[in-house]
């Protein structure tokens, strides 16, 4: 059951990313290009995605997950160094190439050699992240 939901969700996610245009780096960079020829498509994608998700969050109040267990709790409101620094670094990479983790995966079969290179670099970055996070924590502790 767990695997079934993972496949159903992953398939919908990948198809949605392609059909929405979000695996096209021109559209993503076009959205971020506020001071150039702005392309609002990404805002429509975000808006569209919020609707089923907001309904789903409402539904979590009166039930438990189908496979059992409990729903993820709201994380404590804490804007730590990790959240801010990580998001700044992510935005930098996102702006440079126009790919974020979802589209990088979804476009693997039609993204060419560059797509594979991006994914490989991204996986290396993910491997290095725990070390980088610990460094940020030690800086926070010292401050």
């Amino acid at each position: 059951m767990r695997i079934f939901f993972a496949i159903l969700s992953g398939g919908l996610f990948g198809a949605g990313l392609l059909l929405s245009g979000m695996t096209d780096t021109n559209k993503v960079q076009g959205f971020l290009d506020l001071f150039g020829n702005w392309d609002p498509t990404l805002a429509f994608v975000m808006g569209g995605a919020m609707i089923p998700m907001a309904i789903a969050w409402q539904m979590t109040k009166s039930r438990t997950p189908v496979i059992g267990g409990s729903f993820p709790e709201m994380p404590a409101t804490e804007f730590d160094r990790r959240l801010i620094t990580g998001s700044v670094l992510f935005g930098l990479g996102w702006g440079l190439a126009g790919l974020c983790p979802g589209p990088a995966i979804a476009s693997l079969t039609y993204g060419g050699t560059g797509g594979f290179l991006f994914l490989a670099a991204m996986l290396i970055g993910m491997r290095l992240a725990p070390t980088a996070s610990r460094y940020l924590d030690s800086r926070s502790a010292a401050a």
Partner: protein, 141 residues
Amino acid sequence: MITDWIWGLLGGLMIGAAGAVYLLGNGRIMGASGIIGRIVDAKGSQALEAAAFVAAMIAAPAVIALVWLPGTETHLTSDWLVIAVAGLLVGLGTRIANGCTSGHGVCGMSRLSPRGIVATLVFMASGIATVAIFRHVLEII
């Protein structure tokens, strides 16, 4: 142009439905960076679930591109240095911040999570500044 927005909305609804299935079915937040991260960490049954998710996430658009939308491409830059640096930063940043456009953006903002909203505002502002500087000032991208 308007058809782009309609497709954006439709695709967005599918992405939201995907997140809803993952949440209500498996009780998990559908975040691409988190799911890929679980494969990188390779932790038993969690990695298996994540691998199934990623396999479907690659296969579904692959079939659509092959059958229905031949010639689909990503228009990714051909500058390998930019690609490598960008990929490294995206991997590093999303895991340090514990989320990306799907986890913090779609799933976090839709439950009005303060952390999700702040992360999304920060990476959007960072992305906008990056495109402004690298496209219009330095003219690299």
